[in-house]
Amino acid sequence: MSEHTPHITPYRTLGIILLILLSLTFVTIEITSIHLGAFTVTAALLIAGFKGYLVLAYFMHLKHESTLLRVLVALVFVLFALIVVITFIDYAFRS
């Protein structure tokens, strides 16, 4: 693996990603200032999830990493999702 030269993320890409992240932050603030109950929470978490994806893919350059690493990272998030779902099922069915 060390033979292959590492991918160098251009400055431009990093700048564009920052601009998107900043815009999404302000979109989140706007959305959460409108009180729409459960929709607000879902929207804020979806945007946070997308921002997290951008940080992982570009700043942490997973987009150019080996398949092994990308699958491992994905599995950690799947594991966390399972823990959340199972805990909430337990919580919902307690008398």
Binding site: G15, L18, T25, Y58
Partner: protein, 205 residues
């Protein structure tokens, strides 16, 4: 290890170093993930209290700190690109900018926590004991999660400063930059956690 002194082939495995760092990051993600889960459960249990408590936080300070962390995440990524392109001057400048932003974050946090302390709101305080259970839980989680996050900021700053020294000594160079890469990964993790902490604690109410 080679015995030939003049043939200095040092064994180095960048992929393994990176994988090791990622495995550590996984444990960090699950550590904070557990706290997010605790937050979600208690939020579901005490929605009104969580709503009222979150109104106590300054959204302005939260936004400023979010912007600071996002910019610092980019500056550390620029530092890595600069090292890969042998532009060490820019790399060092960007690392110093990142550290300066981290300090600005901590100063903000100091004022934010300071205001809470001033109002008698801190873990174990008399006021905290008198609060409703939901309020108590919210502020305990607030102090614990932002406190643990701030601890990560301090560790991140130390790692970035070590990278800075290594660039200065010529130990982090365009064909050997794993120390900076791993320090940068840690810094991005700090940013990543804040991306979820900020809306959950400050915005969703």
């Amino acid at each position: 290890m080679s015995n030939h002194e003049n043939h200095t082939h040092v064994h180095r495995d960048d992929e393994a170093q990176k994988l090791g760092m990622w495995l550590f990051i996984f444990t960090e993600l699950l550590l904070f993930g557990g706290l997010f889960l605790v937050y979600s459960i208690f939020r579901a249990q005490y929605p009104e209290n969580f709503h009222e408590s979150s109104l106590e936080l300054s959204v302005t300070l939260g936004v400023i700190n979010t912007v600071i962390l996002l910019v610092s995440s980019m500056s550390v990524a620029i530092a890595l690109t600069a090292v890969q392109k042998s532009n060490y001057k820019l790399a060092k400048l960007m690392l110093l900018l990142t550290v300066a932003l981290a300090l600005a974050f901590m100063v903000n946090k100091y004022f934010e926590w300071g205001a809470k302390f001033h109002h008698g709101l801190y873990p174990g305080s008399e006021l905290m004991q008198l609060l409703d259970r939901g309020h108590h839980l919210y502020f305990s989680l607030y102090f614990f999660m932002t406190g643990l996050h701030a601890l990560h900021i301090i560790i991140g700053v130390i790692l970035l400063l070590i990278s800075y020294v290594k660039i200065n000594k010529g130990k982090v160079v365009s064909d050997n930059f794993m120390h900076l890469e791993n320090a940068a990964l840690y810094w991005h993790l700090v940013d990543l956690i804040w991306i979820f902490l900020f809306p959950l604690l400050y915005l969703i109410s």
